[in-house]
Symmetry: C3
Subunit: 193 residues, 3 copies
């Protein structure tokens, strides 16, 4: 008799557990997920873009490769560079010094896509190769460059960043005419494997 009471007391627990299990399972398969409170990995990195302007072939890390019919590929186009496509291979550093030892390269392209203000669309990857990290992180998104901060999406990764996802906050850390800019990138990864 006492034993059966033990079992009865057990039943609500079982129900509670099954309920919790159902919640857990449905969290896994349904589409509305709890927003992660904090990243599983954070990186603060800087990259340095030196745009070819006809005079700096030796130092340039980027070049205009496409432009609209009314512009050319040596000078950034009028109307806030609308239509210019730039390919780059920029050094990544841990601080804001162009001459610090690079920990990798930022590679890909950006294109200016708005007439009224400086606005870019970015598709690029960080290729990290240091004692800390080896692997790539790929980014996609829009960059309204005059905003103090702007977020782009981290859509994938390889190596130490296998399958990662997250958000990166871009900040213009320096801007010198149409020749040099430096971006600070706060990479916040919310899926790490």
């Amino acid at each position: 008799m006492e034993g059966s009471r033990g079992r009865m007391a057990f039943i609500p627990h079982i129900l509670l557990l099954l309920f919790l299990l159902l919640i857990t399972t449905s969290t896994t398969t349904s589409s509305t997920l709890r927003r992660p409170l904090k990243p599983c990995k954070t990186l603060i990195l800087y990259f340095h873009d030196i745009i070819y302007n006809g005079l700096n072939a030796a130092n340039a890390t980027a070049a205009i490769v496409a432009s609209p019919a009314w512009a050319n590929r040596t000078i950034l186009a009028g109307q806030n560079h609308f239509g210019d496509v730039v390919v780059f291979d920029d050094p990544i550093t841990l601080d804001n010094n162009l001459h610090s030892p690079p920990v990798g390269r930022a590679q890909g392209m950006y294109l200016y896509d708005k007439k009224e203000i400086y606005n870019a669309w970015l598709g690029f990857s960080f290729v990290l190769n240091s004692t800390d990290y080896k692997g790539t992180i790929s980014f996609i998104g829009t960059d309204p460059t005059l905003n103090k901060t702007r977020d782009v999406s981290v859509v994938g990764g390889t190596g130490d960043f296998f399958m990662t996802r997250g958000v990166a906050t871009l900040m213009t850390d320096a801007f010198e005419g149409d020749v040099y800019f430096r971006l600070r990138v706060d990479v916040k990864l919310y899926e790490c494997y």
Copy 2:
């Protein structure tokens, strides 16, 4: 004695629960996931692309910025525009009227990549800025433009669309020569945070 029976009756339950837990855990870490039955968020939006053709500089929202050696950047290339790259900053509206108040901009690029038919590869983002939504959604994929519907991938997002993923169905809602087209985009998000 009764108590030990209570405990024994409990053991199969424990095993069942552990088994269920293992299933749940493996659902979490294994790779084959249950296909979500319905999106966690759906948006139906239209965007309007007015391509620069040498005559419409004031209204154009898009421009050819690259083309193959045999073509130029004012007129879309022969062979179904193969090789043309177009940069755009198009208004997004809630209905099919170009003059409706925009809720955001579609920004990025498309490139025509097939000689035999009109076929595009897309990389772009929606930048939504309305009372309903603030944030970006990024898209990647192929667009066989003559198909009634075609799916591209939603690969990331920021703001209200933090880390989102899903599929977007494109439909050509209007097409006027080589100057204007309007796409209806049914965005179906299956991961929302």
Copy 3:
């Protein structure tokens, strides 16, 4: 008395289970995930890129559409093609024979982004259309083409590859001057629906 012992013996189990449940739940919502041991789907495919060089208009599946100011769109640029953007629509085959029946097309673009070595950034999709698979897989990433193998990210998919993610390993299977190359792609998908 025996019954209450039964219940007491039960309590640690409940705690253990709740603890396990918490772990499971937090695995679901937290960001550090167990690395999947093996892919849920694997594909080994080849694609064939025939670059337009001014003489092969009929056969070419790819064309230079953008280049830096110092180069043109008929001949790949000096400095390891830095700045060249190539648009392609390449046949995909199950083996390394260009003339095997294609199972789909690889469509998108690559851009050479490094002066010192051949290095590309890729944005493209596989459009598969065979009895085995119908759907698209989209890729983003860097391709240091001289490495024996290099990984890019699978960032999305549609159709049979709805919402997929993973990693693809690229290997140069053949390379003939600046006119033809063949890539072997080992697609490893770790999220399948």
